[in-house]
Symmetry: C2
Protein backbone atom coordinates (compact mmCIF):
# COMPACT_ATOMS: atom_id res chain seq x y z
CA UNK A 1 0.00 0.00 0.00
CA UNK A 2 2.65 2.42 0.96
CA UNK A 3 5.34 1.39 -1.45
CA UNK A 4 3.55 1.77 -4.73
CA UNK A 5 6.47 3.41 -6.43
CA UNK A 6 9.29 0.94 -6.20
CA UNK A 7 10.90 0.89 -9.61
CA UNK A 8 14.43 -0.35 -9.30
CA UNK A 9 15.60 -1.89 -12.51
CA UNK A 10 12.49 -1.03 -14.45
CA UNK A 11 13.10 -0.28 -18.08
CA UNK A 12 9.70 1.02 -19.14
CA UNK A 13 9.26 4.62 -20.23
CA UNK A 14 8.25 6.91 -17.39
CA UNK A 15 6.59 10.21 -16.79
CA UNK A 16 8.51 13.31 -17.81
CA UNK A 17 11.13 14.67 -15.43
CA UNK A 18 11.16 11.51 -13.34
CA UNK A 19 14.75 10.35 -13.87
CA UNK A 20 15.40 6.69 -14.68
CA UNK A 21 17.44 6.11 -11.62
CA UNK A 22 18.97 2.94 -12.96
CA UNK A 23 22.47 4.11 -12.25
CA UNK A 24 23.95 4.03 -8.77
CA UNK A 25 25.20 7.60 -8.89
CA UNK A 26 21.81 9.13 -9.45
CA UNK A 27 20.23 6.85 -6.90
CA UNK A 28 22.77 7.82 -4.29
CA UNK A 29 22.43 11.50 -5.08
CA UNK A 30 18.71 11.29 -4.75
CA UNK A 31 19.00 9.65 -1.35
CA UNK A 32 21.54 12.23 -0.30
CA UNK A 33 19.15 15.02 -1.16
CA UNK A 34 16.37 13.43 0.87
CA UNK A 35 18.61 12.97 3.89
CA UNK A 36 20.05 16.46 3.78
CA UNK A 37 16.62 17.98 3.37
CA UNK A 38 15.51 16.54 6.70
CA UNK A 39 18.60 17.89 8.40
CA UNK A 40 18.32 21.35 6.90
CA UNK A 41 14.62 21.47 7.69
CA UNK A 42 15.16 20.52 11.32
CA UNK A 43 17.56 23.40 11.63
CA UNK A 44 15.95 26.10 9.54
CA UNK A 45 12.22 25.32 9.36
CA UNK A 46 9.85 25.32 6.42
CA UNK A 47 10.32 28.83 5.05
CA UNK A 48 14.09 28.83 5.22
CA UNK A 49 14.60 25.38 3.79
CA UNK A 50 15.00 26.71 0.28
CA UNK A 51 16.22 24.65 -2.62
CA UNK A 52 19.29 26.86 -2.55
CA UNK A 53 19.92 26.07 1.12
CA UNK A 54 19.60 22.34 0.51
CA UNK A 55 21.85 22.55 -2.52
CA UNK A 56 24.44 24.47 -0.57
CA UNK A 57 24.41 21.82 2.18
CA UNK A 58 25.23 19.22 -0.45
CA UNK A 59 27.55 21.27 -2.60
CA UNK A 60 25.43 21.62 -5.72
CA UNK A 61 23.34 24.39 -7.21
CA UNK A 62 19.61 24.57 -6.55
CA UNK A 63 18.91 23.79 -10.18
CA UNK A 64 20.57 20.39 -9.84
CA UNK A 65 17.90 19.29 -7.38
CA UNK A 66 15.30 19.55 -10.08
CA UNK A 67 16.81 16.59 -11.94
CA UNK A 68 15.44 14.48 -9.08
CA UNK A 69 12.34 16.33 -7.95
CA UNK A 70 10.03 18.40 -10.08
CA UNK A 71 9.08 20.91 -7.40
CA UNK A 72 9.90 21.74 -3.81
CA UNK A 73 6.56 20.33 -2.76
CA UNK A 74 7.34 17.00 -4.40
CA UNK A 75 10.72 16.89 -2.73
CA UNK A 76 9.11 17.37 0.67
CA UNK A 77 6.46 14.77 -0.06
CA UNK A 78 9.13 12.32 -1.12
CA UNK A 79 10.94 12.88 2.17
CA UNK A 80 7.76 11.93 4.01
CA UNK A 81 7.13 8.95 1.76
CA UNK A 82 10.64 7.72 2.36
CA UNK A 83 10.29 8.00 6.11
CA UNK A 84 7.02 6.10 5.99
CA UNK A 85 8.74 3.34 4.05
CA UNK A 86 11.55 3.18 6.58
CA UNK A 87 9.10 3.09 9.48
CA UNK A 88 7.11 0.33 7.83
CA UNK A 89 10.22 -1.72 7.12
CA UNK A 90 11.41 -1.31 10.69
CA UNK A 91 8.02 -2.27 12.09
CA UNK A 92 7.99 -5.43 10.01
CA UNK A 93 11.46 -6.32 11.17
CA UNK A 94 10.99 -5.82 14.91
CA UNK A 95 7.72 -7.68 15.00
CA UNK A 96 4.34 -7.31 13.46
CA UNK A 97 2.17 -4.31 14.20
CA UNK A 98 2.46 -2.79 17.66
CA UNK A 99 -0.29 -4.06 19.92
CA UNK A 100 0.38 -1.21 22.31
CA UNK A 101 -1.10 2.10 21.21
CA UNK A 102 1.29 4.22 23.24
CA UNK A 103 4.34 2.61 21.69
CA UNK A 104 2.63 3.20 18.37
CA UNK A 105 2.55 6.89 19.16
CA UNK A 106 6.24 6.90 19.95
CA UNK A 107 6.94 5.39 16.58
CA UNK A 108 4.54 7.87 15.06
CA UNK A 109 6.18 10.94 16.54
CA UNK A 110 9.44 9.12 15.91
CA UNK A 111 11.75 11.14 18.10
CA UNK A 112 12.28 13.52 15.23
CA UNK A 113 10.54 16.83 15.93
CA UNK A 114 11.81 18.34 12.70
CA UNK A 115 10.19 15.61 10.67
CA UNK A 116 6.91 16.02 12.54
CA UNK A 117 6.96 19.74 11.89
CA UNK A 118 7.48 19.07 8.20
CA UNK A 119 4.53 16.69 8.22
CA UNK A 120 2.37 19.30 9.87
CA UNK A 121 3.31 21.94 7.34
CA UNK A 122 2.52 19.59 4.49
CA UNK A 123 -0.77 18.43 5.98
CA UNK A 124 -1.81 22.05 6.26
CA UNK A 125 -0.98 22.54 2.57
CA UNK A 126 -3.00 19.48 1.71
CA UNK A 127 -6.15 21.08 3.14
CA UNK A 128 -5.89 24.05 0.85
CA UNK A 129 -7.27 24.37 -2.67
CA UNK A 130 -5.01 23.47 -5.61
CA UNK A 131 -2.71 21.12 -3.77
CA UNK A 132 -3.78 17.84 -5.28
CA UNK A 133 -0.45 16.11 -4.82
CA UNK A 134 -0.24 16.75 -1.11
CA UNK A 135 -3.91 16.04 -0.60
CA UNK A 136 -3.66 12.69 -2.40
CA UNK A 137 -0.65 11.71 -0.34
CA UNK A 138 -2.26 12.48 2.99
CA UNK A 139 -5.71 11.08 2.31
CA UNK A 140 -3.90 7.89 1.36
CA UNK A 141 -1.71 8.04 4.41
CA UNK A 142 -4.56 8.57 6.83
CA UNK A 143 -6.50 5.79 5.21
CA UNK A 144 -3.53 3.51 5.78
CA UNK A 145 -3.08 4.66 9.35
CA UNK A 146 -6.75 4.10 10.14
CA UNK A 147 -6.49 0.64 8.64
CA UNK A 148 -3.51 -0.25 10.80
CA UNK A 149 -5.23 1.17 13.87
CA UNK A 150 -8.39 -0.79 13.12
CA UNK A 151 -6.32 -3.94 12.87
CA UNK A 152 -4.60 -3.28 16.17
CA UNK A 153 -7.96 -2.55 17.79
CA UNK A 154 -9.40 -5.78 16.41
CA UNK A 155 -6.53 -7.69 17.99
CA UNK A 156 -7.22 -5.89 21.26
CA UNK A 157 -10.84 -6.83 21.01
CA UNK A 158 -9.94 -10.46 20.57
CA UNK A 159 -7.63 -10.22 23.57
CA UNK A 160 -10.33 -8.59 25.67
CA UNK A 161 -8.60 -5.23 26.11
CA UNK A 162 -10.88 -3.24 23.79
CA UNK A 163 -14.62 -2.92 24.29
CA UNK A 164 -16.87 -4.13 21.52
CA UNK A 165 -19.81 -1.74 21.60
CA UNK A 166 -18.47 0.91 19.23
CA UNK A 167 -17.60 0.61 15.52
CA UNK A 168 -13.98 -0.17 14.79
CA UNK A 169 -13.58 2.36 12.01
CA UNK A 170 -14.77 5.19 14.22
CA UNK A 171 -12.46 4.15 17.03
CA UNK A 172 -9.58 3.84 14.58
CA UNK A 173 -10.17 7.37 13.37
CA UNK A 174 -10.28 8.54 16.98
CA UNK A 175 -7.04 6.79 17.88
CA UNK A 176 -5.18 8.34 14.96
CA UNK A 177 -6.68 11.72 15.79
CA UNK A 178 -5.48 11.41 19.38
CA UNK A 179 -1.95 10.60 18.21
CA UNK A 180 -1.95 13.57 15.88
CA UNK A 181 -3.37 15.99 18.41
CA UNK A 182 -1.29 14.84 21.35
CA UNK A 183 1.91 15.10 19.37
CA UNK A 184 0.92 18.61 18.33
CA UNK A 185 0.54 19.75 21.92
CA UNK A 186 3.70 17.93 22.89
CA UNK A 187 5.78 19.52 20.13
CA UNK A 188 4.61 22.95 21.20
CA UNK A 189 5.15 22.29 24.87
CA UNK A 190 7.24 19.25 25.81
CA UNK A 191 5.88 19.31 29.36
CA UNK A 192 2.51 18.14 28.10
CA UNK A 193 2.45 14.42 28.90
CA UNK A 194 1.87 12.91 25.50
CA UNK A 195 2.15 9.29 26.58
CA UNK A 196 -0.17 9.79 29.55
CA UNK A 197 -2.82 10.95 27.13
CA UNK A 198 -2.38 7.85 25.03
CA UNK A 199 -2.45 5.57 28.06
CA UNK A 200 -5.62 7.28 29.20
CA UNK A 201 -7.18 6.48 25.85
CA UNK A 202 -6.15 2.85 26.26
CA UNK A 203 -7.90 2.81 29.62
CA UNK A 204 -11.01 4.35 28.14
CA UNK A 205 -11.06 1.72 25.42
CA UNK A 206 -11.10 -1.18 27.89
CA UNK A 207 -14.32 -3.12 28.36
CA UNK A 208 -16.27 -1.83 31.40
CA UNK A 209 -15.54 -4.78 33.66
CA UNK A 210 -11.86 -5.43 32.88
CA UNK A 211 -8.81 -5.02 35.11
CA UNK A 212 -7.39 -1.54 35.64
CA UNK A 213 -4.03 -2.23 34.08
Amino acid sequence: MHADQIDQGATEPRSPHQPRRRYPKGELRRQQILDRTVEVFAELGFENTSLRAIGEAIGVSHAALRRYFDTREELFLEVLREKDRQALAEALEHELLPVDLASGLEAYAAGAPGLMALRHSMVARAMEPDNELSRAFFTDRYRSLRGEAAHTLALGRAAGTVRGDLPLEVLASLVIAAMDGLSTQWLLEPEVPMLDGMHALEQLLRPPGSATS
Copy 2:
Protein backbone atom coordinates in the same frame (compact mmCIF):
# COMPACT_ATOMS: atom_id res chain seq x y z
CA MET B 1 -7.31 35.21 29.42
CA HIS B 2 -7.88 35.54 25.74
CA ALA B 3 -8.43 39.24 25.52
CA ASP B 4 -5.27 40.56 27.07
CA GLN B 5 -4.78 43.18 24.43
CA ILE B 6 -7.86 45.31 24.55
CA ASP B 7 -6.63 48.88 24.38
CA GLN B 8 -9.38 51.09 23.12
CA GLY B 9 -8.86 54.62 24.30
CA ALA B 10 -5.56 53.90 25.95
CA THR B 11 -3.12 56.77 25.84
CA GLU B 12 0.09 55.13 27.03
CA PRO B 13 3.09 54.81 24.71
CA ARG B 14 3.24 51.56 22.80
CA SER B 15 5.66 49.36 21.00
CA PRO B 16 7.09 50.68 17.74
CA HIS B 17 5.02 50.26 14.60
CA GLN B 18 1.90 49.37 16.52
CA PRO B 19 -0.32 52.29 15.53
CA ARG B 20 -2.36 53.99 18.21
CA ARG B 21 -5.56 53.19 16.51
CA ARG B 22 -7.50 55.89 18.30
CA TYR B 23 -9.07 57.08 15.09
CA PRO B 24 -12.09 55.36 13.58
CA LYS B 25 -10.67 55.23 10.08
CA GLY B 26 -7.62 53.24 11.06
CA GLU B 27 -9.69 50.95 13.23
CA LEU B 28 -12.03 50.18 10.37
CA ARG B 29 -9.19 49.66 7.94
CA ARG B 30 -7.53 47.27 10.31
CA GLN B 31 -10.70 45.26 10.64
CA GLN B 32 -11.15 45.28 6.89
CA ILE B 33 -7.68 43.85 6.41
CA LEU B 34 -8.37 41.04 8.86
CA ASP B 35 -11.65 40.15 7.16
CA ARG B 36 -10.26 40.22 3.66
CA THR B 37 -7.26 38.16 4.67
CA VAL B 38 -9.52 35.28 5.69
CA GLU B 39 -11.36 35.47 2.39
CA VAL B 40 -8.24 35.63 0.26
CA PHE B 41 -6.68 32.82 2.24
CA ALA B 42 -9.70 30.57 1.81
CA GLU B 43 -9.42 31.07 -1.93
CA LEU B 44 -5.69 31.08 -2.53
CA GLY B 45 -4.09 29.20 0.37
CA PHE B 46 -1.07 30.06 2.47
CA GLU B 47 1.59 30.54 -0.17
CA ASN B 48 -0.49 32.65 -2.50
CA THR B 49 -1.98 34.88 0.14
CA SER B 50 0.69 37.50 -0.31
CA LEU B 51 0.52 40.96 1.16
CA ARG B 52 0.13 42.18 -2.39
CA ALA B 53 -2.83 39.90 -3.00
CA ILE B 54 -4.55 41.07 0.18
CA GLY B 55 -3.84 44.69 -0.64
CA GLU B 56 -5.22 44.25 -4.11
CA ALA B 57 -8.42 42.73 -2.72
CA ILE B 58 -8.87 45.85 -0.63
CA GLY B 59 -7.68 48.38 -3.15
CA VAL B 60 -4.56 49.43 -1.36
CA SER B 61 -0.84 48.92 -1.84
CA HIS B 62 0.88 46.14 0.04
CA ALA B 63 2.97 48.67 1.93
CA ALA B 64 -0.15 50.10 3.52
CA LEU B 65 -0.77 46.84 5.35
CA ARG B 66 2.40 47.29 7.28
CA ARG B 67 0.99 50.35 9.02
CA TYR B 68 -1.27 47.91 10.85
CA PHE B 69 0.81 44.75 11.09
CA ASP B 70 4.54 44.51 11.43
CA THR B 71 4.96 41.29 9.50
CA ARG B 72 2.87 38.83 7.54
CA GLU B 73 3.17 36.36 10.40
CA GLU B 74 1.72 38.89 12.83
CA LEU B 75 -1.14 39.64 10.49
CA PHE B 76 -2.03 35.96 10.31
CA LEU B 77 -1.74 35.58 14.07
CA GLU B 78 -4.00 38.56 14.55
CA VAL B 79 -6.59 36.99 12.28
CA LEU B 80 -6.59 33.92 14.52
CA ARG B 81 -6.68 36.02 17.69
CA GLU B 82 -9.64 37.94 16.37
CA LYS B 83 -11.53 34.77 15.49
CA ASP B 84 -10.87 33.40 18.96
CA ARG B 85 -12.26 36.58 20.48
CA GLN B 86 -15.36 36.34 18.32
CA ALA B 87 -15.88 32.70 19.22
CA LEU B 88 -15.47 33.47 22.91
CA ALA B 89 -17.92 36.36 22.74
CA GLU B 90 -20.44 34.23 20.91
CA ALA B 91 -20.07 31.39 23.38
CA LEU B 92 -20.68 33.75 26.29
CA GLU B 93 -23.73 35.14 24.59
CA HIS B 94 -25.45 31.89 23.65
CA GLU B 95 -24.88 30.32 27.02
CA LEU B 96 -21.92 29.42 29.13
CA LEU B 97 -19.43 26.80 27.98
CA PRO B 98 -20.77 23.96 25.86
CA VAL B 99 -21.46 20.90 28.01
CA ASP B 100 -21.55 18.78 24.90
CA LEU B 101 -18.14 17.89 23.51
CA ALA B 102 -19.37 17.26 20.00
CA SER B 103 -20.98 20.66 19.73
CA GLY B 104 -17.71 22.01 21.07
CA LEU B 105 -15.97 20.47 18.11
CA GLU B 106 -18.38 22.05 15.69
CA ALA B 107 -17.62 25.43 17.18
CA TYR B 108 -13.94 24.54 17.07
CA ALA B 109 -13.89 23.64 13.39
CA ALA B 110 -16.30 26.52 12.96
CA GLY B 111 -17.65 25.73 9.52
CA ALA B 112 -14.78 27.66 8.01
CA PRO B 113 -12.31 25.28 6.38
CA GLY B 114 -10.12 28.13 5.20
CA LEU B 115 -9.68 29.36 8.73
CA MET B 116 -8.82 25.90 9.98
CA ALA B 117 -6.23 25.53 7.23
CA LEU B 118 -4.69 28.83 8.29
CA ARG B 119 -4.58 27.61 11.89
CA HIS B 120 -2.85 24.43 10.81
CA SER B 121 -0.25 26.30 8.81
CA MET B 122 0.48 28.57 11.72
CA VAL B 123 0.62 25.75 14.28
CA ALA B 124 3.15 24.03 12.06
CA ARG B 125 5.26 27.20 12.02
CA ALA B 126 4.99 27.41 15.78
CA MET B 127 6.74 24.04 16.15
CA GLU B 128 9.79 25.20 14.26
CA PRO B 129 12.82 27.00 15.62
CA ASP B 130 12.86 30.80 15.63
CA ASN B 131 9.14 31.37 15.62
CA GLU B 132 8.65 32.72 19.10
CA LEU B 133 5.57 34.77 18.29
CA SER B 134 3.60 31.89 16.85
CA ARG B 135 4.82 29.49 19.48
CA ALA B 136 3.76 31.82 22.30
CA PHE B 137 0.35 32.28 20.76
CA PHE B 138 -0.37 28.59 20.40
CA THR B 139 1.05 27.40 23.71
CA ASP B 140 -1.25 29.99 25.26
CA ARG B 141 -4.15 28.92 23.12
CA TYR B 142 -3.78 25.24 23.89
CA ARG B 143 -3.46 26.00 27.56
CA SER B 144 -6.73 27.89 27.36
CA LEU B 145 -8.44 25.14 25.41
CA ARG B 146 -7.31 22.50 27.86
CA GLY B 147 -8.59 24.64 30.70
CA GLU B 148 -12.01 24.98 29.09
CA ALA B 149 -12.10 21.27 28.35
CA ALA B 150 -11.15 20.44 31.93
CA HIS B 151 -13.97 22.64 33.15
CA THR B 152 -16.48 20.98 30.86
CA LEU B 153 -15.23 17.57 31.97
CA ALA B 154 -15.58 18.56 35.62
CA LEU B 155 -19.18 19.53 34.99
CA GLY B 156 -19.71 16.17 33.30
CA ARG B 157 -18.19 14.43 36.27
CA ALA B 158 -20.59 16.21 38.61
CA ALA B 159 -23.46 15.22 36.33
CA GLY B 160 -22.33 11.61 36.27
CA THR B 161 -21.52 11.48 32.55
CA VAL B 162 -17.71 11.40 32.93
CA ARG B 163 -15.84 8.72 34.82
CA GLY B 164 -13.69 9.78 37.75
CA ASP B 165 -10.76 7.40 37.67
CA LEU B 166 -8.48 9.37 35.37
CA PRO B 167 -6.88 12.77 35.89
CA LEU B 168 -8.83 15.70 34.46
CA GLU B 169 -5.84 17.43 32.90
CA VAL B 170 -4.85 14.34 30.98
CA LEU B 171 -8.39 13.83 29.73
CA ALA B 172 -8.63 17.49 28.79
CA SER B 173 -5.48 17.19 26.71
CA LEU B 174 -6.90 14.09 25.08
CA VAL B 175 -10.21 15.76 24.26
CA ILE B 176 -8.50 18.71 22.59
CA ALA B 177 -6.20 16.36 20.75
CA ALA B 178 -9.18 14.41 19.44
CA MET B 179 -10.84 17.60 18.21
CA ASP B 180 -7.65 18.65 16.44
CA GLY B 181 -7.00 15.29 14.88
CA LEU B 182 -10.56 14.55 13.85
CA SER B 183 -10.91 17.93 12.17
CA THR B 184 -7.66 17.27 10.31
CA GLN B 185 -8.95 14.01 8.85
CA TRP B 186 -12.28 15.60 8.10
CA LEU B 187 -10.77 18.55 6.27
CA LEU B 188 -8.74 16.20 4.12
CA GLU B 189 -11.64 13.88 3.47
CA PRO B 190 -15.12 15.15 4.31
CA GLU B 191 -16.50 11.60 4.28
CA VAL B 192 -14.66 10.85 7.50
CA PRO B 193 -17.34 11.10 10.20
CA MET B 194 -15.90 13.75 12.47
CA LEU B 195 -18.85 13.96 14.83
CA ASP B 196 -19.10 10.20 15.18
CA GLY B 197 -15.55 10.18 16.45
CA MET B 198 -16.38 12.81 19.04
CA HIS B 199 -19.52 10.99 20.13
CA ALA B 200 -17.50 7.82 20.49
CA LEU B 201 -15.12 9.66 22.78
CA GLU B 202 -18.09 10.82 24.85
CA GLN B 203 -19.21 7.24 25.19
CA LEU B 204 -15.74 6.14 26.21
CA LEU B 205 -15.66 8.84 28.87
CA ARG B 206 -18.86 7.65 30.55
CA PRO B 207 -18.58 5.85 33.89
CA PRO B 208 -18.59 2.05 33.37
CA GLY B 209 -22.09 1.46 34.70
CA SER B 210 -23.98 4.40 33.16
CA ALA B 211 -26.71 4.44 30.51
CA THR B 212 -25.71 4.13 26.86
CA SER B 213 -27.07 7.47 25.79
